[in-house]
């Protein structure tokens, strides 16, 4: 049970950072390609990223208690962010899948409203 909570917290942090990474021009080009989304879409992506990171903290605190949870979360944040950087190099398609899933639920048709980068 402890490990499931940890994995969930890590996945939330990873998805959160993926959203932040995709909302940056150079990483959008690498992962998605095509025209850069609107400012509104970027803001929504970053907000969703923040929510996921906050969710990761909540799961870590519930899973491990305050002292262990806080420490675990700080390390999860660092390692998840590094994993996102590695994914951008070796497996950008993983991030594009994450973007597809998020777009499907939250940003349907938002990509159509685009700005130039």
């Amino acid at each position: 049970m402890m490990h499931i909570g940890l994995i969930a917290s890590f996945v939330c942090a990873y998805v959160g950072f993926s959203c932040w990474a995709i909302s940056q021009t150079q990483h959008w080009r690498t992962v998605i390609g095509g025209p850069f989304p609107s400012q509104e879409m970027v803001r929504t992506q970053r907000f969703f990223g923040m929510v996921m990171v906050a969710l990761s903290l909540i799961i870590a605190l519930f899973n491990d208690g305050f002292s262990f949870g806080a420490l675990v979360w700080v390390l999860i944040l660092s390692l998840a962010a590094i994993l996102v950087a590695f994914s951008l190099v070796w497996c950008p398609s993983l991030l594009s899948y994450i973007n597809k899933v998020i777009s499907y639920f939250y940003f349907a048709n938002a990509v159509e409203k685009t700005n130039k980068p």
């Binding site: 940890l6 940056q24 150079q26 262990f68 420490l71 962010a81 590094i82 951008l88």
Partner: protein, 559 residues
């Protein structure tokens, strides 16, 4: 000439990095290995590879007290460290009529036979001390050097963030395919920014926990002037009892030197007594039979949880004024647990509960966060990975300085050649030396002497000799070819790491019979399997790096 805050910070970052990075890499490397110090100990001390899964719980009254009575009839103190998952043997400490210096021996947790002596320092008596004092104990020179390097690390971290021009834009950038120098700088920025909370807190807590070395007179300044009644040292102990305890601590200074806290000033002893609850009461001279200890442990564990007691310390076991102290384990909290429960040796009556004050608990949290002694395996692995990340941060920083200059001056300047050798020795040298330390341990295979030298010392000599050989190898390679000799040396030392790591795994199999298939599947023993797997992974990474360097060298020559 450029001026301004960012330029000053850049100069600070460059100079602090050039001067301290070699030392910092050694500190972070050994610190990272110390996260698994007990597991490395099990690997290096095969006689302590005991599986605790099937071991029955020991009874202190039935199993340990008779054993201690038979070992030393007139001991003034016993210490009983109960077996645990990471330290799977019973540790007993006792003094004898002949000597007040406590003997410490290990016993099998099931058969209670004394385990053969481990003729090695292992990780806990070499790699871990190297991390905090570089094994230079005289006048605390090593600890001071580590302290200076830690302050340098804090400066490097903060100045690094200040001079990073594209902190948010390049937050996730790792352009490894573009060029070596681009990928190297991105790796430096990535680990520097993303591991910033870890590196900052681990460096700061490392400095704080050694406060008594850096500020030795601080307790004197406070405690010499303080009236005994003015500071309550526990939350539960009444003032009267505190005074009597203080008198007992002060009386301790009249006892032989081997006693706990001897050699410290009275103020420091009072400080340690108040902050850590470590007191040794005086004997009354009146004989008493020791009470049953098991019910005391059971009652404490019923209240605080299974495994809450990790150590039993009995002061004056055959005296009416003797005290049984149950020290509580730090397994279940980040904070280092200094709390203990004291009972009378004669009656088993509850004498005192020591609980750290709130202020001490803040310190205990920082110390616990640094020492990583808690029972939380995922967090332990996170520490290990983050520690390796910090090593990458330091190594890529060093390489960034030389990389730019190697391309510009073709390595012809002395300063650049010097730094090329320095980087090689600082980064690869200590990794090769650590591997050689493990190989030496398996080659000597727990012998007491070799060629008239004690094997524990010999292993340390091997470590430093191999490190010096790596320096010499770098010097020779750079002297032969200033332009690309250092690349060749890096490649060759990568091959050395791969060879040494595989040799260590094979030697472990040959000398103990514990090969990976056995430790993973047949007779699962994770500490040894983990170290073997880490060695094999290091070998794979080293071979990959050596092949890349060899390709790079061919390109360099072809240029």
């Amino acid at each position: 000439m450029k001026t301004g805050f960012r330029f000053s910070m850049s100069a600070l970052h460059t100079w602090a990095g050039l001067l301290l990075s070699g030392l910092l890499f050694a500190i972070f490397w050994t610190g990272t290995l110390s996260v698994f110090d007990k597991e490395i100990d099990r690997w290096m001390m095969p006689q302590t590879r005991i599986n605790m899964d099937t071991a029955p719980k020991l009874s202190v009254d039935r199993d340990i007290v008779p054993l201690l009575n038979s070992l030393s009839e007139s001991a003034t103190a016993w210490s009983i460290v109960l077996p645990s998952e990471r330290k799977p043997f019973l540790g007993l400490g006792y003094d004898t009529k002949e000597s007040h210096i406590a003997k410490r021996n290990s016993f099998h947790p099931v058969t209670l036979d004394q385990l053969p002596a481990s003729n090695t320092r292992g990780a806990s008596r070499f790699i871990y001390p190297f991390h905090h004092n570089l094994t230079l104990r005289k006048s605390n020179i090593g600890a001071w050097l580590v302290g200076i390097a830690s302050i340098g690390m804090l400066c490097l971290l903060v100045s690094g963030i200040v001079i990073h021009r594209r902190l948010f834009t390049d937050f996730f950038s790792f352009r490894v395919w573009r060029s070596f120098s681009r990928g190297n700088l991105d790796a430096h920025n990535l680990t520097g920014v993303l591991l910033f909370p870890f590196t900052l807190v681990i460096t700061l807590s490392g400095l704080m926990i050694a406060h008594l070395i850096y500020f030795p007179k601080a307790p004197d300044a406070v405690y010499e002037q303080m009236h005994p009644q003015s500071a309550a040292h526990t939350q539960k102990t009444p003032a009267k009892e505190i005074t009597s305890l203080r008198q007992k601590i002060d009386n301790k200074s009249k006892t032989p030197k081997a006693r706990e806290g001897a050699g410290n000033s009275p103020a420091r002893r009072r400080f340690i007594g108040e902050s850590q609850g470590r007191v040794t009461p005086k004997a009354s001279g009146e004989f008493a039979t020791i009470t049953s200890i098991d019910p005391l442990i059971t009652a404490t564990e019923e209240e605080l949880g299974r495994g809450a007691v990790y150590m039993v310390r009995v002061s004056n076991p055959a005296d009416a004024e003797g005290v049984i102290a149950l020290r509580l384990s730090s397994d279940k909290s980040v904070a280092q647990n200094m709390d203990n429960r004291r009972f009378s040796v004669a009656t088993g009556a509850d004498l005192d509960h020591f609980e750290s004050s709130s202020v001490t608990n803040v310190f205990n949290f920082l110390a616990g966060m640094h020492y990583v002694q808690f029972d939380h395996w995922p967090l332990r692995w996170f520490y290990f990975i983050a520690g390796l990340g910090a090593c990458v941060l330091i190594a890529t920083g060093l390489l960034h300085w030389t990389q730019a200059r190697n391309q510009k001056h073709d390595g012809t300047r002395f300063s650049i050649s010097f730094m090329n050798v320095h980087n090689l020795s600082a980064v690869m040298g200590i990794i090769v030396a650590t591997g050689a330390f493990l190989v030496a341990n398996r080659l000597f295979n727990n012998s007491v002497h070799f060629a008239g030298v004690l094997v524990p010392d010999l292993e340390v000599y091997v470590f430093f000799s191999v490190w010096m050989c790596c320096v010499l190898h770098g010097v020779i390679r750079v002297l032969i070819n200033k332009r690309s000799g250092y690349i060749k040396a890096w490649g060759e030392q990568c091959w050395a790491i791969a060879f040494i790591a595989i040799s260590a795994v094979v030697l472990n199999w040959l000398t103990t019979g514990d090969h990976l298939i056995k430790t993973l599947f047949k007779d699962t023993y994770w500490p040894v399997a983990t170290i073997d797997l880490l060695l094999i992974s290091s070998a794979a990474i080293a071979i990959f790096a050596a092949r890349k360097l060899s390709a790079n060298l061919k390109l360099n020559i072809g240029r």
